[in-house]
């Protein structure tokens, strides 16, 4: 805020500060005020804790950091966390898309209830979800016992269980990002495709799907980010076997319990960097897609 007001006072031909360069004449008031507020707020809420985390990890030094991070156990957990989050987000992208499609395109008895059900994974305490899922999928649970009997498949206390938990909590992200875009999609474009001789499938693949892809990617990214950070629901169903079904957030908690604060911070920083790179890549991909057909 302070920077913005001083930039107003700068003489017009003195070159000005960065802010006055950014500032274009606009009828929308409050550029300086809102930008200042946004930066302050983001600094307090997001950047400050993250900086503290990085600072703590920095206490280890460069080689100390890599020593803490490049252990077989951390790397295995890294693979479990990121691999399964991506897998769960991919599953959600497919099935969440179908759920959104059905909710928007068809009217059926109880559609409102189904619509409300989608949000439950948001609201449910994750530990409750984890306990419920592990009870269901345990070798003696309802679904788990059947899967064991029919396919010899063990779900709970394996990476597969983690994937199921992450799929559960990630579903609303995909549904809720795709739904409004699908709702606003003008029917004329599909009709135009039909009039031009496209089959239903061609109209979907060439006209509807490309229009929804940016939203689907956003949903995918959100579900993925949520999956990486998820703790509560996973630890109950994962079995937490080091090197096999141990996730990074759990590893951090374990390190904290051993008073290895710097080590925990190092793993946190590793997660942060990897997530940031992935999300940035997804955002850039989206920006590129949007730029091809701006509004």
């Amino acid at each position: 805020m302070v920077a913005a007001t001083t930039s107003d006072a700068v003489l017009p031909n003195s070159g000005g500060t960065v802010l006055s360069v950014l500032r274009k004449p606009s009828v929308l008031p409050g550029f300086g005020l809102t930008l200042g507020f946004t930066l302050t707020y983001l600094s307090l809420i997001v950047l400050l804790p993250l900086a503290a985390l990085a600072l703590k990890a920095a206490g280890l030094g460069w080689s100390g950091f890599w020593d803490a991070v490049l252990t077989p156990r951390v790397l295995a957990a890294f693979k479990v966390s990121f691999g399964l989050s991506l897998a769960a987000a991919a599953i959600n992208a497919v099935f969440g898309f179908i759920v959104a499609w059905v909710l928007v395109r068809y009217r059926f008895p109880g559609d409102r209830i189904v619509d409300a059900l989608v949000d439950l994974p948001f609201a449910l305490p994750t530990a409750v979800a984890g306990i419920a899922l592990s009870a269901l999928y345990a070798p003696n649970g309802w679904i788990g016992s059947l899967l064991m009997e029919w396919f010899g498949l063990r779900v709970a206390f394996t990476p597969l269980g983690i994937a199921i938990a992450l799929t559960f909590i990630g579903l609303p992200f995909v549904v809720r990002t795709v739904q409004p875009i699908l709702q606003d999609l003008p029917p004329e474009e599909e009709e135009a495709a039909a009039a031009l001789g496209a089959t239903r499938w061609q109209a979907f693949r060439r006209v509807v799907f490309p229009a929804l892809l940016p939203a689907l990617l956003t949903g995918f990214a959100l579900a993925f980010a949520r999956g990486v950070g998820e703790y509560g629901s996973v630890i109950f169903i994962a079995g937490n076997i080091p090197g096999l079904s141990e996730i990074l957030p759990l590893l951090i908690v374990i390190k904290l319990e051993q008073y290895d604060y710097a080590g925990a911070a190092a793993v946190g920083v590793l997660m942060l960097m990897a997530s940031f790179i992935l999300l940035l890549a997804l955002n850039l991909l989206q920006a590129w897609m949007r730029s091809r057909h701006a509004r």
């Binding site: 495709a193 039909a194 009039a195 031009l196 496209a198 089959t199 060439r206 057909h293």
Partner: protein, 346 residues
Amino acid sequence: MAIQVSGITKQFGSFRALDAVDLEVRSGELLALLGPSGSGKTTLLRIMAGLEFADSGSLLLNGEEALSLTPRERQVGFVFQHYALFRHMTVFENVAFGMKVRPRGQRPTSTEIKRRVMELLELVQLAHFADRYPAQLSGGQRQRVALARALAIEPKVLLLDEPFGALDAKVRKELRRWLRKLHEDIHITSVFVTHDQEEALELADRVVVMSQGRIEQVGSPADVYDRPASAFVYEFLGQVNRFDCVVADGVARTANGALSIPADGTVRGPAIAYVRPHDLGLSPSAAGPGRVSGIHVVGPDARIEIDLAGLPLEAEMDRERLTALGLRLGDQCAVHIDRARVFPQP
């Protein structure tokens, strides 16, 4: 290709959009479906295209029953009011779409597609916009792309739903003329929907006037304008002065007696008389029953509002004529009616 519509009925809930409509579209003509919103004109067009389903009736395309056919099988070109271009495709890809989605056996080669698309873009004068996205084009350009896209499938019929409705007045006029010329060049059977009577009268070979799901009149533009079949058509086509009156002995008199209009012999009793503003003659007369209550000059035309003993009238003449008459605001004048139509009170 000729289109034969018979007994088409369509109901939306309790609203009857089309009520047993019969219509023949002749091969190679440019036909306008004209009517106010809710008259069923768009519904009729969409049923022809296969985008809407009729409840009953039959539709023959070139003598073949078409109601059970999908839009894909009907091979009609459809142009939407809001263009409905594919946003994520370039102009080129939009126009090529119809050819690319054809079954493998009938699909042209990609060089052939490219040649056809460029040819069509040449036709709509947008060849150097091939790589643009629809968002980068103006409204008029988008509608021309939509037209090229519809023509790319070599349709037997071209259906246009308010094709100029979303454009500003100047572009609309240009595009209208351009479409007329295009139709003269390629002579494809075309049906377009509009609520703009000027557009229908200027562009079409024949005009179909619709109201409340029924066809009021079909005829050439001159026909429907000069010989309207019903009070609705008279009122809908152009500006009009309307009087409630009573007809006796071949003369229609308004309630206050200020005006008497010759009526043909078929009408008796309560009636409605219509006079077009340009059929209303004025002459300055200090003892005349009318008083000039307003003068609006728009370009070369003048609109004069007359207060005829409490009855508001509107007359229209060119500006020079007004100057010659020397009428001014507040002047008294005589009113004579050159031409009028009297319809029985419904």
